[in-house]
Symmetry: C2
Amino acid sequence: MTALALVGAFSAVVAAQVPPDRAIKYRQSSLATMGFHFFGILAPMAKGDRPYDAKVAARSAKFVAELSEMPWHDGFPPGSESGAPTKAKPEIWKDRAKFDKLAETMQGEAAKLAQVAGTDLATMRTQVQATAKACTNCHDEFRAK
Amino acid sequence: MTALALVGAFSAVVAAQVPPDRAIKYRQSSLATMGFHFFGILAPMAKGDRPYDAKVAARSAKFVAELSEMPWHDGFPPGSESGAPTKAKPEIWKDRAKFDKLAETMQGEAAKLAQVAGTDLATMRTQVQATAKACTNCHDEFRAK
């Protein structure tokens, strides 16, 4: 590969890269959308602060599972430690493998939640708690207070 | 049903209703997440402003199709005409059937896009255009400039 070809390949990668401010806005909007369903609908149902409705719970849990796949690839590219106000800690890009592992664990719990949320309140509650734990495990380490 | 039972049933519905400011934030975050993939990734690929990558296109189109189902039920409840800055026109709640029909058409186009985005650039481009038209049809009528 010539130096020129290398430069060309690198430019193509740069061109396809999302600018930091847009990546930050994207991760915030996708996580806010997930939070709406998880912390705004499912968690209050699990706590008894909102009446359990199997159909609503199943829909919100399906959305949470789908959204759980979205933030990672496009929302946390290298270089998006700054560029807009963000609570994401720089440690994400220093220990990416650990961050990715925690994100993956959350996705697994969210997928399980989508399977059981429409069953009954007790079953949903147990899996809401497991999913909330997975959120917290990552936030405690990688999100600023 | 006694009057008291009726009041109780009504209170439960009110309790399950999302407050207008949260509904507005939710519709904005879910639509922004969809816009990131559609206007930020798929449309530039279709226009040739970003290199076509079948895997990336398929993933973004899958996300767009999933997201296309999310804003409507929880994001535009009655009473959320105001409560936070919003471009949603009051006409949405005056002609809800028309709004819902346009949203449904967009979901159909997005579902088709998810099916074909990973095929090749020309096929993706045609369906990106059809989907963009469905976005615009609703924005022209129901979103303020």
